[in-house]
Amino acid sequence: MRRYAIPAFFLTPATVLIVLFFMVPVVATLLLSFTDISTTTLSKPSWVGLGNYRDLLADPFLKKILANTGKYVALTLLFNVGMGLVLALLTSLVPSQIGDQFRALWLLPRILPPVVYVFIWQGLLTQAPMGLVSDLLGVSKNWIAAAPWSVVILANGMVGASFGMLIFTSAIRAISRELFYAAAVDGATTWQTVRRVILPLLSWPILFVTAYQTLSLLTSFEYILLLTDGGPGFYTTEVWSLRAYHLALSNYFGNVEFGLGAAMAAVLVLIGILVSLFYLKIFNFQNLVVEPKVEVN
């Protein structure tokens, strides 16, 4: 009995929490997406089958949302990976203590509370005299309203760039010294070393960061919510995940369309499951499981 009871004891707390807040929500998202649950039908929702999904396809703004989502994910990803790569390379080329300092600075946007981080953006981009950008450009306006997309992508990108930066830096550090010495002996310039030695060896980490961040960008909306809340105006920066959130949890018109929001979330959940399973495959799972050397529990 001890054989099962002891591991079960160790695993129970984690399992309960995972079931409660991962497994049940996945099922609940799918189930809710098949009902017409909303503010008016909260107590007894009825089954509508694929009704919500039909509504979703018929939504006149669907195209706009999809385009926004594509734009947001693609451009932010480009910034994240590109900036991550630039930072990793540049901080590797300077003396390592200085490089560490810069990398640490780039962690700041990530560890700052999002509300504080977004507030700083708002402050810098507000009208003169307070707003620095208005001050410097001599044109006083609210730059978030004037150029919402640039702000959304830059603000998200500065948070996300550190992820790639750290992964690429570890990858560069893992390259054997001999390779650099060999390149130097062969007369390669720094740029040639970067292009012919480092970049080819970074292709796998780049793929990893791209895949990983695509999924998290697709589902994250925290910074957009705080910066523009999908505006300014009508759906200017509203992306899929934010739209789902708005529909289900904070509808402007007071009628929360929970079922429809759940249907949009369900699409993300399904994508999430598929992509995560795909990671499991490329992570080479077999190597991660080593048999324990103690057999008694």
């Binding site: 099962y4 002891i6 591991p7 160790f10 707390p13 807040f21 991962f22 049940v24 609940a28 998202t29 809710l32 901080t91 080329l93 003396p95 990398r103 640490a104 962690l107 700041l108 560890i111 509370p113 999002p114 509300v115 504080v116 700083i120 708002q122 402050g123 810098l124 003169a128 005299p129 307070m130 707003g131 620095l132 001050d135 996300g160 550190s162 750290l166 650099f180 010495y181 720094t190 070393t193 990983y212 994250s220 909306f221 919510l225 995940s241 959130y245 929970f258 759940a262 979330a265 999430g272 499951i273 995560s276 499991l280 799972f285 991660l288 499981v289 080593v290 324990p292 103690v294 529990n297």
Partner: protein, 275 residues
């Protein structure tokens, strides 16, 4: 890189330029919080503590006192970190060091959940908390926050437990310890670096958490600092001075931590903690 390029000083300047916005933003927050008027980065008034009156004036525009929010934030972050470390360590120890049927399956599930974007479950979680009667309670949000990071925590801690010596574990068993005693007296003390890493990560992450309390908490008495600060953004007239002061107050532990433990932070975030 082992070989420093001849033009590294030039590279340093480039690095400085692209990093400038981070410095500027931080400086702006500091100046705006401290002076009564700031033009861009130029303070034009005197040092002004009026921005900080939320500290002694009880309630600002009908908000709960900031001390309530501070207390909630501390409670929230500390409890989340504690639950996360304890629950993840226990599970990670079992997965890493014990023999039981379904072990591979469990590990596979953790790996999938680790990559899975939990925020997409928010709508269902809102519903579940309502059903459980935990909606609008700090405890409910604590459970949710800790749970969503548990796969990551298990993954991180498993890596640390994997590296413990098997002979030491065998020695403890022969010395008369049960697995629970081995875990508590031998394994946990030895994975202290992992506990510190996960604990730090969890504290920082919970301290900054916005979307969960924003969605799952309504009443002011359960507000965290994130909600307190965000409530200023919804006002028609934004008092930048006071907001900056609140923001600085809220972010102060993070800044202090950042100044004291840069190297440590880099290690934690390079060590596979996702972002």
């Amino acid at each position: 890189m082992p070989i420093r390029p001849p033009s590294w000083r030039l590279i340093l300047i480039v690095l400085g330029l692209i990093t400038l916005p981070i410095g500027v933003g931080t400086l702006w927050l500091l100046l705006t919080a401290l002076f009564n008027q700031v033009h861009g980065l130029l303070p034009v008034g005197n040092i002004n503590f009026g921005n900080w009156r939320f500290l002694w004036e009880g309630s600002i525009n009908g908000r709960p006192p900031i001390w309530v929010a501070l207390f909630n934030s501390i409670l929230f972050a500390a409890t989340v970190a504690f639950i996360e470390v304890l629950v993840a360590s226990m599970a990670a120890y079992a997965i890493s060091r014990m023999n039981f049927p379904g072990r591979r399956l469990y590990l596979g599930m953790i790996l999938v959940l680790h990559a899975f974007p939990a925020v997409s479950l928010l709508i269902a979680i809102y519903y579940i908390l309502r059903v459980l009667g935990l909606f609008d309670t700090l405890f409910g949000v604590i459970l949710v926050k800790a749970s969503l990071e548990i796969p990551l925590g298990i993954w991180l801690m498993k890596g640390f437990f994997d590296n413990l010596s098997w002979e030491m574990e065998m020695a403890a068993l022969v010395d008369g310890a049960s697995r629970w005693t081995v875990f508590r007296k031998v394994a946990l003390p030895l994975v202290r670096p992992g506990i510190l890493a996960l604990g730090t990560f969890a504290l920082l992450s919970a301290w900054g958490e916005f979307i969960l309390p924003y969605t799952l908490i309504v009443s002011g008495k359960s507000w965290t600092l994130a909600l307190y600060l965000q409530s200023f953004l919804r006002e028609s007239f934004v008092d930048y001075g006071m907001m900056a002061a609140v923001g600085l107050f809220y972010a102060l532990p993070v800044f202090v931590f950042f100044l004291l433990g840069q190297k440590y932070l880099l290690n934690i975030y390079s060590g596979g903690v996702k972002g």
